[in-house]
Amino acid sequence: MGAVSLTNIVKNFGSFTAVQRMSLDIPEGAFVSLLGPSGCGKTTTLRMIAGLLDPSEGDITIAGRRVNDVPIHKRNLGLVFQNYALFPHKTIAENVAFGLKFRGVSRDDRERRVREALELVQLPDVGSRYPGQLSGGQQQRIALARAIVIEPDVLLLDEPLSALDANLREDMRVELKRIQQRVGITTVFVTHDQSEALALSDHIVVMSKGRVEQTGAPEDVYTTPATEFVARFLGASNILEATCLTVDGDGVTVEGPAVGRLTLPRERAPHVSGPGPVKLAVRAEKLKLERPDAADTSAAGDLVLDGLVETVDYQGLAARYFLRVGDVQLQAINMIDSHPFAEGERVSLRLRPRDCTLLAGSTQ
């Protein structure tokens, strides 16, 4: 059993079900992200682990102990909020020492551990200041130090980077990863930001409408989405209604609009068992654009389509194109080599079948 496990957790608010029968096992020392849009139940789940909400059904265990009836102040966990939630009337040192006072740590030990925690977050000299005198990023580091210094069984982070501005957020992300790896603490991270989840996590739990859509390593979740929701939520994907024609040991053959007929390796369609309606997901960055007159260097099996650039969304490093292919619109994100394709330009779209994913048909 992992450091934290949820077994058949349900949370109802009146007639609204915020979390629907969720089970999750978080291994010791792992960094797990709960990722989803607002209202997907990720924060509700975190608050149940914290003990700020009681589950309607199911069991929660932390470090092997069932904690359903254990109040928050006896769960030994570290909690970091979006808005830092530092105690404004206490100095930074008092803030960090707060949890130690309830653990019978002697004064000398307390001072030493506060000093170490402040060094860990690279703010060793702010102990005598008040939270109001620090910047947002500094306050969030202090909040992290305050949560870690008590050596909690699990660290719970509720959108801790969302209140920071973009540049600072990336610095803090790196910092957070460094501290988490250094301390080796089991961490549950709630976010709606896919890049944060992909960059930080050992495991990502993608949630939607109170359900777990997919659980897996960042790479697996990104490259092999299990559902249309995951394909759309993580990165930019083209989803085409297609028909599965045959399934055999080596491959799956589908026919769809624009792409025509193609055969995918079997492992690209783990959720498709036989012929019938399916959805073909193609990541926008897997559609490679080329000038139609460019020498044809296509490797065997590549699919090449003709398209027309309808809209260009220039992003500096890359550009996002909306293309007309047959009677469907596809989007492609390509790095810009010298200069981007122009609107109205005719292009070739190259696609490797093994970069596509087949999703179960219209069950949504």
Binding site: P71, H73, N76, L86, H89, F98, Q133, R146, L156
Partner: protein, 261 residues
């Protein structure tokens, strides 16, 4: 031209409001034995007489004790009520809130008579405790309004953070919520004290025989004659009821400054 008129008018309004008070303060230092102009010299004589007047000193003690008890009880109840109303989902929350604020809206005479009749119906005699209860009811809305406003501004996640670190709900209240609430608690206490200290309408109805507060004592003295002692007493009252809140605001401001805003 228009602005000059407005300015002039404003000055007149302030004069109308503050001149009588200034006159009382000025005359309290008058050496003459008549409490009126012309002044014959500066003297602290009436303050000395005041300090020697047993009835006034007794009224003063009563008022202070009554004011302090009102402040403490009213603030305690007010803080607890605000916590319940702001932090918990109490059924009938709006109704309770309205009822607690209602004493401000009801004319004081009506409130005074109502409480008296109610206690008569229960065959309870007038007592100091009844007087105190009346003052608490009357000052409670002010405390609740001030404390609630502040409590809404204290983020719930600060308390949640404290609990996650191992503080029980009671420890969280005393170490986090109450200190953050302290400016409002202080303001509520000052409100309750000064309102209680000033009050005459309710007090006249509720006080048991033989007990006088400073306002009822002044009222009783005025029925006989206008003694210069009353001017001196008035000056002391003004210093107390205006000075205390000012002092409170200064303390609250200093506390806020220390935390860097």
């Amino acid at each position: 031209m228009g602005w000059a008129l407005i300015r002039g008018w404003t000055v007149l309004v302030y004069l109308f409001m503050f001149l009588p008070i200034a006159v009382v303060v000025l005359l309290s230092f008058n050496a003459s034995q008549f409490g009126s102009f012309p002044m014959t010299g500066l003297s602290l004589r009436w303050f000395a007489e005041l300090a020697g007047n047993e009835a006034i000193l007794r009224a003063f003690r009563t008022s202070i004790v009554l004011g302090l008890l009102t402040a403490v009880i009213s603030t305690t109840i007010g803080v607890l009520a605000s916590l319940a109303l702001v932090r918990y989902r109490v059924p009938g929350r709006n109704l309770i809130s309205t009822l607690l604020i209602a004493p401000i809206l009801v004319p004081e005479v009506v409130l005074a008579v109502a409480l008296l009749l109610f206690l008569n119906a229960l065959a309870v005699n007038k007592s100091f405790a009844l007087l105190l209860a009346g003052h608490v009811i009357f000052t409670l809305p002010f405390v609740i309004l001030v404390v609630q406003a502040r409590l809404v501004g204290i983020r719930r996640d600060v308390e949640e953070a404290a609990m996650s670190l191992g503080a029980s709900p009671v420890q969280t209240f005393f170490q986090i919520t109450l200190p953050l609430l302290s400016p409002a608690v202080l303001a509520g206490m000052l409100f309750a004290f000064t309102i209680s200290f000033d009050d005459i309408t309710g007090t006249l109805f509720w006080k048991p025989g033989g007990v006088e507060t400073v306002p009822t004592q002044i009222f009783a003295m005025l029925r006989n004659s206008i003694s210069p002692e009353i001017n001196a007493l008035g000056t002391v009252m003004i210093v107390l009821t205006a000075g205390l809140p000012l002092l409170g605001i200064a303390i609250a401001r200093r506390m806020a400054m220390k935390r860097g805003g």
